[in-house]
């Protein structure tokens, strides 16, 4: 009998602790598959953000550094400058990357650091219990926007992929979702491409993944998938916002 589907080597053989229906497990898998695909496990270093993301070191069978909240791109910069031939990626949520870490992500992209950023956008602060994030959709109720996000008070949800695509230093910038098999396959391709960019010294690569958080959205997994399609994708359109084709363009 032949085994046709198995756990990526880059992931440890341990069960995920994530809530039922959460997409972190899927995203871990996609990253692990990309690392395996290019045979990078023994030369990859992950940088964990703060939030549910911090536990990447529990699941990836690779070297990991934990960064202060929002600072993962700066930590990754230090690592990459010392070890330019290693593969460095950050794994960050939306509170971490788009709120407290806005400065670090923008400047790291702008310097064109040859790293890969995995950005998990689920429109809430997950670990702290579902507070409003910079990506929370207008009208979305959270524990700190109990009447729904109102732009007059809270401003608008930030579209990170589009924003970073405007920077000269960014080489690859894409937004994907995980709510359908078709989207999942596109996401897999995008994550793989992001790592490929780094392997080829093409510079800063960024993958935003629209992710579900059924627990803090107050719905079951299937409804959460529906919400990604109905509420998130219309505001956060999927697609490639920037992709350099060759190093000559750098």
């Amino acid at each position: 009998m032949q085994q046709v589907f198995k756990r990526p080597q880059s992931l440890k053989n341990v069960p995920f602790h994530f809530c039922p229906g959460c997409h972190h497990g899927l995203i871990h898998r996609l990253v692990g598959e990309a690392i395996d695909y290019f045979n990078l496990r023994e030369r990859t270093i992950g940088v964990a953000g703060v939030g549910c993301s911090v536990f990447v070191y529990e699941y990836f069978d690779i070297d990991v550094a934990e960064a202060p909240h929002g600072r993962a791109p700066a930590v990754a910069t230090g690592l990459k400058r010392v070890l330019p031939d290693r593969i460095i990626f950050t794994y960050q949520g939306d509170g971490d990357l788009a709120s407290i870490g806005m400065s670090e992500i923008v400047h790291t992209a702008n310097r064109g650091e040859n790293i890969t950023v995995i950005f998990v956008n689920n429109t809430v602060y997950g670990m702290t219990g579902g507070q409003m994030a910079p990506t929370t959709i207008l009208g979305q109720q959270t524990t700190t926007s109990p009447y729904g996000r109102d732009f007059r008070q809270d401003g608008y949800p930030i579209r990170m992929a589009e924003m970073l695509a405007t920077l000269e230093g960014t080489s690859f910038c894409v937004r994907v979702a995980l709510n359908t098999p078709a989207n999942l396959m596109k996401a897999k391709k995008a994550v793989r491409r992001a790592f490929e960019m780094q392997v080829n010294n093409m510079g800063f690569s960024f993958v935003e993944l629209l992710s579900s958080c059924p627990t803090n959205w107050g719905m079951n997994s299937l409804k959460a998938h529906e919400r990604v399609a109905k509420e998130l994708i219309p505001y956060f359109p999927l697609g490639i916002f920037k992709e350099r084709k060759a190093t000559e363009e750098l």
Partner: protein, 349 residues
């Protein structure tokens, strides 16, 4: 013959850092320490090192964290407001047991303060500075020569203890020019860096973190760090004593105030007063035992600082119970002059 150079304190420190093998510098402009990043921006390329002008002090300290995690000797420098911004990162360095050198060319505060020399950051430097129960080694140079020499030492101590080391200078030490001897670097014997992140090739993954959620883990980690700080107290105390034998009064001062005190000391001796000087080079670990020993003979101490009273608390905690501790504070603006200190000496002698 030894090579002598005429340099600014900031430059002599940067030169020492490169000599000690520092190849990664991350910093953000702030007066009065700009000579340091400027020096590295000129010289790092020549030693195949890396200089990054970061977007903020917050980014600087975290780039340092990343470079340290990869096993490199790395440093950052700033001045008081910038050092405040770095405290989060310094706390993470301490918690993750990562080495790194942080230079604070102390300016005045609170807030934006001013660019003149100050010793207002003594508490911040010696009590950890950021959140959590930790300490950094704090070195206090008092000359351009020591800006260089203590930079060499700082990198060794950081690696020896896997802990951040702060060099606490001030605007005068950073900006003044003096001759200095270009001494060779003789590294301490150091433990191997088997904990660094290089990719888990042929070994189990390494993990650098400060998060401990499981029952009992955090307490264990804090006790482990505590044991390290106790070892620092045992092995790393450094201080200078000048004319303390048979002294009636001993001045306690570090950095620029110690430098001015040395002149005041000569004036006092010339006036027939038996005055000595106690100068800590390590502010953490503070030379508590040396101070206690000294206070068994000398019963009057005068702490002099460019603030309203910070190190004086450590002096009071250290001396014998029957010793009297006086304080003269000269908050920032300009440093005190020797005649001014002589008057203070006369008051308490």
């Amino acid at each position: 013959m030894e090579k002598r150079l005429f340099l600014k304190g900031n430059e002599s420190l940067a030169m020492g850092a490169i000599k000690a093998g520092c190849r990664y510098y991350f910093g953000y402009p702030i007066t009065p320490q700009n000579d340091i990043p400027e020096y590295f921006s000129r010289h790092m390329a020549q030693v195949e090192g890396c200089f990054i002008q970061a977007e903020s002090e917050v980014a600087s300290i975290n780039m340092l964290l990343g470079a340290a995690a990869a096993g490199a000797r790395a440093m950052t420098s700033s001045s008081s407001p910038g050092i405040s911004l770095m405290q989060e990162g310094i706390s993470y360095l301490a918690g993750s047991e990562l080495p790194g050198v942080i230079v604070n060319v102390n300016r005045s505060g609170p807030g934006l303060g001013g660019i003149s020399a100050s010793q207002g950051d003594y508490f911040q430097a010696t009590r950890g500075g950021g959140h959590g129960d930790y300490r950094t080694i704090v070195l206090a140079p008092h000359s351009v020569q020591e800006m260089h020499d203590l930079a060499l030492l700082a990198f060794d101590l950081a690696d020896k203890y896997r802990n951040p080391v702060v060099i606490l200078a001030d605007a005068v030490l950073g900006q003044m020019q003096e001759t200095m001897v270009d001494r060779p670097y003789q590294p301490l014997p150091l433990p191997p860096k088997d904990w660094i992140l290089t990719g888990a090739c042929g070994r189990k993954p390494n993990l650098l973190k400060s998060l401990y959620l499981k029952e009992g883990e955090m307490e264990k980690h804090n006790w482990k760090l505590f044991a390290k700080y106790q070892r620092m107290k045992k092995e790393e105390v450094r201080y200078e004593l000048a004319l303390t034998e048979e002294a009636e009064l001993v001045i306690a001062a570090y950095g620029t105030t110690a430098r001015v005190s040395k002149t005041a000391l000569r004036l006092a001796r010339a006036a027939g007063m038996k005055v000595g000087l106690f100068r800590p080079l390590t502010l953490f670990p503070f030379p508590e035992e040396a101070m206690l020993r000294l206070s068994r003979g000398v019963k009057r101490f005068l702490a002099i600082e460019m603030n309203t009273g910070q190190m004086v608390e450590d002096v009071k905690l250290s001396v014998a119970r029957d010793a009297e501790v006086f304080f003269y504070g000269h908050p920032p603006g300009s440093p005190p002059d020797p005649e001014e200190l002589l008057e203070e000496i006369k008051k308490v002698y």
